[in-house]
Symmetry: D2
Subunit: 122 residues, 4 copies
């Protein structure tokens, strides 16, 4: 099974069961889960701390480091899924709405190759 045939709901169920079996809902306040996401994101960031932009791209060809980075990314996502579970948020709906909003905020024509309004002399 891969990203092509895995639904968000299946991953949410996976996390729900893991948490349920350990009776960890008591620790999973939205406040704690937001902190946990921040902690895991920092561990992800640590892999890129001193790398140049190019060195960070080169990771694609380094299977061991890529594996390590993937695990940190998974950690962030597990807590994100746990938060969606605790708060009853439908992630696909929320993501689609946010992308729609960003389509209007950053019109493709105007922002092509530019990350912001001030980015005139990159």
């Amino acid at each position: 099974m891969s990203d092509s045939d895995t639904t968000i709901a299946q991953l949410r169920q996976l996390i729900h069961d893991f948490v349920e079996r350990r009776d960890w809902h008591q620790f999973h306040t939205p406040k704690n889960l937001a902190m946990s996401m921040a902690i895991e994101t920092a561990e992800l960031m640590e892999h890129f701390q001193w790398l140049s932009a190019d060195q960070s791209r080169a990771l694609v060809g380094q299977p061991e480091r890529l594996q390590a980075v993937g695990e940190e990314l998974a950690d962030v996502l597990c807590y994100a899924l746990a938060m969606a579970n605790e708060l009853g948020i439908d992630l696909s709906t929320t993501i689609r709405q946010k992308v729609q909003k960003n389509e209007l905020k950053y019109p493709a024509e105007e922002y092509r190759g530019r990350y912001g309004p001030e980015d005139l002399d990159p």
Copy 2:
């Protein structure tokens, strides 16, 4: 469409198209995307900054704040999906492997109701 019938690949495609139409791959180094995830996670955290544990749970019954929190969560996930796209990481595989690893690291019997080995006098 909801989490039940949306695959990870569909959301990845959505983000890929958004980035592609703006020619933003050039900014999407893994280093920048990790930073971006950290920035958005902090914005998510801000909603819980001064709340007690109970107040953070009470968000479930506050539609407006819940909507705002959902949007921040979506922002984190959009960047996480963008990173998976840039690095060619299959998220469902990586998440399943990580949960499997955590099943061994935190045996359900031993950790029931406890978040860590030192958690004897909570």
Copy 3:
């Protein structure tokens, strides 16, 4: 020597010398230092991840954990001092100005016991 007889400039010099002796200025771009501050702050946060508010206060009476927390706090500050060095920012001036600004933004009378305008039913 303690906080009473140590100036900010003395600590900045300490960090400057450490970095200089290793020829690390090349890695100390403001971008990398901001990331590093975020990474160290997350390590600090990790000590409080699953603690209740009261448990986090109880740290004051736990010398070993307090020592560990102090070290993480020092890590954040070392990078903050390094950033002030790279950017030529006078920290005491900047902090005094910011506190002055916050005195106006959060009038003491109005905000006594309240962390924000929406904090009517804490």
Copy 4:
């Protein structure tokens, strides 16, 4: 007054008074202050999110952006000082000890121009 003639204790007192006058100690649990440091660090990071290494260094010559960055740095430090106040940590002692520890961990000869042991083929 500048960094040359301002002691850490003076800045700690400044923050202490600000917090005291608002009766905000109740919100200043170590847990909340660690979160707050992370939130402010992310706002600092946001200034560098899409900048190249060189662009982030160029900030030195851009007074307006430098001012904005300085304010975010001050925000992080204000919360760090507040945490030192709540936990009774002497910052100058802790920083000196940490630098001493790092002197041993990263011998100057061995790490000159290198940020880590794996940094052989940058």
